[in-house]
């Protein structure tokens, strides 16, 4: 398979390199809608957003999830990713930049595999936390 990064040295408390995505333009939202198949108008049509009582279009939740999972696969290699979960707490607005920050929170054994659990947050526009989640990754 790919040259997997060596995670044997991974320690609880290690901080992963931050990942940034954005500023999110309307074009990026349109491209994400096409790529994902999610054509919900509130992400690409400001008239629809206004009609829904919103100030402007906002990013698909799964776009943020996708960026968050990119941070995990970039660090571990997709073959090692066992589980990713997150809870959404705030909307990511058009023009926001998403920053993903992950820390190794725990070392544990899952189904006979040594794994680490990453504790991850995504922040939009510098300070607004949008997602909080965990990823479990095998370290072999």
């Amino acid at each position: 398979m790919t040259d997997l990064p060596d995670l044997a040295e991974a320690r609880v408390g290690d901080v992963l390199p931050e990942l940034e995505y954005g500023p999110i333009t309307r074009m990026m939202l349109a491209l994400y809608a096409a790529a994902s198949g999610d054509h919900n108008p509130v992400h690409v049509d400001s008239d629809a957003a206004h009609a829904a009582g919103l100030q402007d279009v906002f990013a698909h939740g799964m776009l943020s999830f996708g960026v968050l999972s990119r941070a995990v696969t970039a660090w571990a290699g997709i073959e090692r990713v066992r589980r990713v979960r997150c809870r959404f707490s705030a909307i990511t607005q058009v023009h926001d930049t998403i920053t993903v920050r992950a820390t190794i929170a725990e070392r544990l054994v899952l189904q006979d595999e040594t794994c680490v659990r990453l504790s991850i947050i995504a922040v939009a526009g510098g300070a607004r936390q949008t997602l909080k989640g965990d990823a479990w990754v095998a370290v072999e």
Binding site: A35, S36, T73
Partner: protein
């Protein structure tokens, strides 16, 4: 790619094969695409999608939680079966927030279970303050 992905195993079949994969590897968030394709197929058969079943309204729909167990990789060219069950419904804040909980499974005919997903979808009905 729409997520800013640069790893060629997700973009280029030759790079994926060089890395030992049979074809382009789907990234972890690819489930949404599988679901969108499945919904298209359901609609073309005149069947209801999960969104229609739960009465989701695009104007108020937000993601609450996502939880994916990755059992095996998904590759370009794969044929998979996706099945979704609505496992719970509830309200909060006197009905200002409506929740639907969905459990999904993605199975490959020979490689078996590839993904188990649990998702919470939220309706945030109008007239509520932004968090």
């Amino acid at each position: 790619m729409a997520l800013g992905e640069v790893n060629p195993i997700h973009l280029d079949p030759a790079a994926a094969r060089n890395a030992g994969f049979p074809d382009i590897v789907a990234p972890p968030s690819f489930f949404v695409v599988l679901e969108a394709l499945a919904n298209e197929a359901l609609r073309s058969r005149g069947e209801r999608t999960v969104d229609e079943l739960i009465g989701s309204d695009n104007r108020y729909l937000l993601h609450g939680e996502e939880d994916y167990f990755y059992r095996g990789l998904v590759y370009a060219g794969d044929e998979v079966v996706i099945s979704t069950t609505v496992t719970d419904f509830y309200n909060k804040n006197n009905g200002a927030l409506e929740f639907a909980v969905l459990a999904s499974a993605v199975d490959h005919v020979s490689r078996g279970r590839l993904i188990d997903a649990k998702r919470v979808l939220v309706h945030k009905l109008p007239g509520q303050l932004e968090p």
